[in-house]
Structures are given as structure tokens and as C-alpha cells.
Subunit: 235 residues, 2 copies
DNA sequence: ACCTGAACACCGTTCAAGT
DNA sequence: ACCTGAACACCGTTCAAGT
């Protein structure tokens, strides 16, 4: 789906920033973060490295641009639902799934704080907070907590999946979780009471459900925080 | 403070895994993530790259070892405080400050999920949850949410600080925040109502305080969640 | 204005050869 | 058992030279 491409020229194979970004996304999706290389890019685009540098300032700029393109598409595809709490949950899940599908986005977002992609997410997470009546003084800390949690968990989840794919022969995530759970279940309960205790629960946990449970935890915290909120948090 | 060093040999300059890790930490602290190089390491240790590879399997293993050493020291230095909520807040702040002092730890932790350093943190965050009476079925999702938030925010904060240090001539974090706040304040309120609205608050925000506010949000959520909790989260 | 592709200054990792 | 250091297969980025 060439959304922005082919504006001035009809030919699809002319070199343009949009086309470079699209190919970059394809490479990142196929070969992971290490797959984005100016040499691979040159080959795929049938040109030299210098040609790419004419359209793009650096690799990190290209990575941010690729990230922003995917984030923008994901948010655009998301209908604005009515109830604020539902809107936040839906948005959180959409971001989780987006990062699960494009694992490189997790670290790309971390490397570009305050840039376009982050601001897009901030805005969409923030609007429902206005509807919830979060007072002005608490708006920034609240979105920040929410966004940090969402991007932190989703990024960690994606990193896990990638590591599982690399370390195991192909047994993948299930085997990775199982190996960890087994290791934890064999820890000394005197030294590691908590980790030893959750090993069994961990073995059968559901990433997406736990992610959403954390979102609900934060939403519950927002709901239980008194509106004036000048001093410490109550309860 | 050579804690583990000089066990078998009295000489401090003999090549050992511990000494390699210590020098790696020093390089990471001084020159950032890119500063850890087998060439820089060789020079500092007055040896060849091959010698280091005899003690250490790969760069990523070395990074994880360096990360674990700092995490272990930080947690060891932390007295176990009584009240569970206080313990979690104290621990969270200690981790925040640790990552602020060693910014490379943020991404190192992400790259080694389920490894030693992560388990150490899991255990210490989890023990107070037992004291709070969080039921077994909710223990994993709850620590996971807490840990993801803490490491996510702290890592993001460190990445911000590093980026501010790189992009600005030396004006640093304050100028970086100011530039962002100014950019946000000039956004179109029709398209970016939320981001536009928080620009002023953002300009004068306090990273550490906001971080702690998020921890309190999650703690409030834990406190307000009913103990049985079989279905959806109430409220 | 836009593209080419060789060249530069780096990387992590390996490995024959030493002691 | 442990160390040396050259060599290998890569990187991102630059830049004279082309069209």
C-alpha cells in the first residue's frame, strides 16, 4: 500500500525518501535490527550508499523515520472509541501488538525520546485522560507513567521473543519460558523466596493478559487518586 | 573497591574475569555504550583481544556481566526497610538513581531478559508484595508491571539525558527540555490538544518526582484491587 | 540536482602461533 | 593453561567524480 509514494513521479522505482523508509521497514521486519544496513539497503534499492545519504542524514534518522511511519499507520487505523478507559485499553493493546509484530520498534522508540513517534503516542494516550478529568498538574506525570509502562512492557516482550528466537534452535518462546520457569523452580527458597514461589505461575502466564492487567493497575490507581492531590497519594 | 578481585593471586594486575568486568564498567561509565570496545579494553588491560576472549565468551556476555555486577552492588548496599510500600519506593528510587549514574544499564537490562540481573531485581521487588498479601495468582503480573515500569522509566530517563548531552553543545538536559516544551507549546491545539496543554507543566516537571508518582499510581492500584480478583479488575 | 562506488576509519571475532 | 596480534568479514559515513 504505497500511501505517500508516487506523488510527483508515476514510476514506483524512483529513489525517494518514502521508498527508502519503506524498504528499511521491510528489512527490519525480515532480518531484525541488525538487518538494516546501508549495504543491504543499497542492494535492495539497486543503488550506491551515497545515493541513500542524499535523501537521509544518518542511520539513526532513518530508523526514527521508519518507526514513525509504522506508528502513524497504526494510530490512523485505530478508531477513536468512546469510553476513556476502553480507549486507553484498546490503544495500549494496539501498541503492544504493533511492537510484537515489529520488534525493532521497541528500541527505536527508546532511542528517539520526544521525537515525532513518541509525541503521537503521548497525544493519543493523553486525550482520554482529559475525558477522565485528570487535573492539569497531574496530566504529565500520568501520561508519562502510562506511556512508560506500555512502551516498557511491549519493548521487553518483543526483546524476549527475539532472544528466544535466537538462543533456541527454533523451539521458540514456549521453550524459553519453560527453561526459565524450570530454572526458577530450582532456586533455593531461602535466598529467593519470591522468584521460587512464582515459578509455576510464570510457566503458564499469558503475556498479553498480564500486560493488560498492568494497564488496569495504573487505571485503578488513577481512579483511586483524589482529584485535588496536592500532597502524597492517599491510601 | 576491589570486592571480588585478588582471591587467588595477590597481584592486582593479573588478567581475570573480574578485572575485565571492572574495566568494562569503567569504560561504559566514561564513554557510554559505544565506549565498550575490545580494542579499548585491550589497551586498558595492556593485552590482546584474544586474551579477553579466553575469559569472556562475547561482548554481550560481558555487557550482561558488567550490568549484573553493578545491580548486585546496588542491591547489596540497600538496607531492607520494614514497611512494604516504603521498601518498594526506596528500591525503585535506588534503581532509578543507579541507571541515572550508569545510563548503559538501561539498555543492557533490556538485552538480557530473565538473566541474573533481572532476577535479582524481580526478587527484591517481589518480597514486599508478599508482605502486602498479593495473592499467588496475581504475583507475577504485579511484579512484572512494577518492574517494567521502573526499568522502562529509568531507562528512558537515562536515554533522554544521554541524547541531551549529545545533541546540545553542552547546555544539557535543561536546554533539551526547554526546546521540547517550546516546540509543544507551538503545536496546533486543534490537532494536538493534549500535548499542547501539558507543554507548560512539562517545562517545569521533575523527573524523579514524576517517576515516584508513577510508582505510587501502581501501588494505589494494587491496594485498590480486591483480594479474590478472579474476573476483571473492579471499578 | 541527483547518483556512483571506491575509500576511510572503524567494529566483533577468530586463530595460528607462541609461552 | 593462558596470552599475542595479525587477519577476516563486516560496519556507517564521506567524497571525488560522474550525469
Amino acid at each position: 500500500m504505497p500511501r505517500n509514494a508516487a506523488r510527483t513521479s508515476r514510476r514506483d522505482d524512483s529513489l525517494s525518501r518514502d521508498r527508502i523508509v519503506d524498504v528499511a521497514i521491510a528489512l527490519l521486519d525480515r532480518d531484525g535490527e541488525d538487518g538494516l544496513t546501508f549495504r543491504a539497503l543499497s542492494e535492495e534499492l539497486a543503488t550506491g550508499a551515497g545515493a541513500i545519504y542524499w535523501h537521509v542524514a544518518s542511520k539513526s534518522e532513518l530508523l526514527t523515520a521508519a518507526c514513525d511511519a509504522v506508528v502513524a499507520r497504526t494510530l490512523d487505523a485505530l478508531a477513536a472509541s468512546g469510553e476513556p478507559t476502553t480507549a486507553i485499553r484498546t490503544l495500549a493493546l494496539a501498541l503492544f501488538d504493533m511492537i510484537d509484530r515489529h520488534p525493532w520498534i521497541g528500541s527505536a522508540l527508546t532511542q528517539a525520546p520526544g521525537q515525532q513517534p513518541t509525541v503521537r503516542i503521548l497525544e493519543r494516550l493523553g486525550q482520554p485522560l482529559l475525558a477522565l478529568g485528570v487535573p492539569i498538574k497531574r496530566q504529565w506525570p500520568t501520561v508519562f507513567a502510562l506511556m512508560s509502562y506500555v512502551l516498557g512492557v511491549a519493548g521487553q516482550n518483543a526483546a524476549n521473543a527475539q532472544l528466544a528466537r535466537r538462543t533456541q534452535g527454533g523451539a521458540g518462546r514456549a521453550a524459553f519460558i519453560d527453561a526459565l520457569a524450570t530454572a526458577w523452580s530450582q532456586l533455593d527458597p531461602a535466598a529467593w523466596p519470591f522468584t521460587r514461589g512464582i515459578a509455576a505461575q510464570f510457566r503458564t502466564h499469558d503475556d498479553r493478559a498480564d500486560f493488560l492487567a498492568g494497564v488496569d493497575l495504573i487505571l485503578a490507581g488513577i481512579a483511586s487518586t483524589p482529584v485535588p492531590a496536592r500532597g502524597r497519594v492517599a491510601r
